[in-house]
């Protein structure tokens, strides 16, 4: 029976379908659904795709090496966020921005588009929506708008945000270099930057408000998309989202001083901490990451210790061959996560020496980091591990072959939707790239398309999926008293998320015809 292609294809799809159904219709968390997907892939791979214990063993080791590369960044980013947030610096940055303009459109752009992206750059994992939504409510916006605006506004920065964890995942699963993947990824995400800005303003007050803010969107969008492109193609993709949002903050504060945006007086609220002190940790981060990436001697010094494992050739009982080779190496001291860790430690001691912490703050910081890091990590490890089982048993290749047979040359139109679906079901661009990255790469290969373009569409769709991911919407709603009433917010973000993804799909298809 399994010789019939469609039956094989449905079996190969079943682990992904399991995760989808459990998360969307049964409201399961990413970690539980990932574990369920792992069991389904284990059973299906053993019964129908010739998996054997040794094959599973090697695939799990490869899965853990990939996961560790991503988790290193995630945990260090969370630690840095809590080191900063515990001083009250995030709130101080929010108040500092608020003092620049009383114009509602500018407030929406600065908070919902730029500041939310800045938070994505330094933390991610729902933090932008959770932090910005209450700030917008405090400024007088309705709770639904307050959650929807940062959800839409920050999504362009997800791939290169969180110190590039999602991009790292894409590189890890595809085995391709940043120099190959970054240009198209940064281009499509750059286009999404403008679209997210436009729709964030549209949600608040329709086309009238978009028209009023168009100049600001053009200036700030160009600064952010341009900076993200330059940083990511020059090898500093870990700083792509963060650097772009910093450029956005600077240009946004300059735009706020323009006469057309300066008709209403700004807030007079005083932060408890100066803006420069609040941003100190991020200045430290810029210096450390720039040094670790750009100074060859520092890069060589930090890159001396690499954790790497050799894998033999693996053949499934059905004859599918995985070539022998090295698994994903972990650069222990020069990894993006390590650079973040150095920044976190240094920032902690700077803030401690200035007396910004309450007693026993270190315990709170570590507890909060563990509390937020464990569920995310469980989801990532279980999903990466089941994706590796699928990869080692030909299941992903069969899925890709089926899609390329059905869609053929119009596949680029579909590629971002697959990324969006992955993020919607797993609540994460990183997980989406892990689950669908290899599938998209294989499909691009079979359809004779540019893998760089298709993977760029995958990660852009995955980033945009952040605005419709129930997991993130739930976090935002809980901070503005909308817990249990998430429907209107999801309806709003879903509409614009689908629109932006559709536009990205059309652009991808057009580009694929040209190149």
């Amino acid at each position: 029976m399994t010789d019939i292609f469609i039956v094989k294809w449905i079996f190969a799809l079943s682990p992904i379908l399991t995760v989808l159904v459990l998360m969307i219709f049964r409201n399961w968390s990413g970690s539980r659904a990932g574990a369920a997907g792992w069991f389904v892939s284990l059973i299906i791979a053993t019964l129908f795709f010739g998996a054997h214990p040794e094959l599973i063993a090697y695939s799990q080791m490869k899965g853990v090496l990939l996961s560790l590369n991503v988790l290193y960044i995630i945990w260090a980013a969370l630690l840095l966020y809590h080191v900063v947030n515990e001083t009250g610096a995030i709130r101080a940055i929010g108040i500092g921005i608020q003092r620049f303009s009383g114009d509602k459109a500018i407030q929406i752009l600065i908070f919902g588009w730029i500041f939310a992206s800045f938070l994505q750059g330094v933390a991610g994992y729902g933090v932008p929506i959770a932090v910005v939504a209450p700030l917008l409510v405090a400024l007088g916006f309705s709770p639904v708008v307050s959650v929807a605006v940062p959800a839409i506004g920050h999504s362009w920065s997800v791939t290169f945000g969180s110190m590039g964890a999602s991009f790292q995942a894409l590189m890890a699963v595809s085995g391709l270099e940043s120099s190959y993947l970054a240009p198209w990824s940064a281009t499509l995400l750059g286009i999404a930057t403008f679209l997210c800005g436009i729709f964030a303003v549209y949600v608040y007050d329709g086309w009238k408000m978009v028209k009023h803010s168009l100049l600001a969107i053009l200036i700030i969008g160009t600064a952010m998309a341009g900076t993200q492109y330059i940083l990511s193609v020059s090898g500093m993709w870990t700083l792509g989202g963060f650097g772009a949002s910093l450029a956005g903050l600077c240009s946004g504060l300059a735009v706020a001083k323009l006469k057309i945006y300066n008709q209403t007086p700004p807030s007079q609220a005083q932060p408890e901490m100066g803006l420069w002190w609040a941003l100190t940790a991020y200045f430290i981060l810029i210096v450390i990451v720039s040094s670790g990436v750009m100074i060859p001697s520092v890069k060589a010094f930090l890159g001396q210790v690499k954790l790497s494992f050799e894998f033999p050739e693996i053949i499934s009982l059905k004859g599918w061959v995985i070539r022998a080779g090295k698994g994903k190496a972990i650069n222990v001291f020069g990894h993006g996560g390590a650079l973040l860790l150095y920044s976190s430690i240094m920032s902690y001691f700077v803030y401690l020496s200035k007396g910004f912490y309450k007693p026993r703050a270190i315990k709170t910081i570590l507890q909060k980091t563990v509390k937020s890091g464990v569920p995310t990590s469980l989801g990532i490890v279980s999903m990466v591990c089941f994706a590796m089982i699928m990869d080692h048993c030909q299941m992903i290749y069969i899925l890709a072959e089926g899609i390329s047979r059905v869609f053929g040359s119009i596949y680029p139109l579909v590629a971002p939707w697959i990324g969006l679906l992955g993020a919607f079901m797993t609540g994460s661009n990183t997980n989406s790239n892990v689950v669908f990255g290899v599938l998209q790469q294989e499909t691009a290969h079979l359809a004779g398309l540019s893998a760089a373009l298709i993977l760029a569409a995958q990660t852009t769709g995955g980033a945009l999926g952040s605005m419709i991911a129930p997991a993130k919407i739930l976090v935002g709603c809980s901070t503005v008293g909308l817990a249990g009433k998430e429907g209107p917010v999801l309806k709003t973000t879903l509409r614009y998320g689908l629109m932006i993804t559709g536009i990205i799909g059309i652009i991808t298809a057009l580009v694929s015809f040209i190149i």
Binding site: R32, A35, W38, A57, Y58, K371, L378, V381, S382
Partner: protein, 57 residues
């Protein structure tokens, strides 16, 4: 049993995460040494760990 999981849920999930990250190293070592029994044993432990993750909080 349910009370135990409710009381120690977060700790159990943290331990499960550590197991999920460590167990594949044992699996790899066993597979490289050609020890079929050890591979099956660690695979069973991995399945047990995934069952813990599957458990509702």
């Amino acid at each position: 049993m349910d009370n135990f999981f409710k009381k120690h849920g977060p700790k159990i999930k943290t331990i499960a995460l550590i197991f999920m990250l460590v167990m594949p190293f044992f699996l790899y070592t066993a597979a490289m040494h050609g020890s079929s029994f050890q591979v099956k044993l660690f695979l069973a432990l991995m399945i047990g760990t995934m069952l813990l993750v599957l458990k509702k909080d």
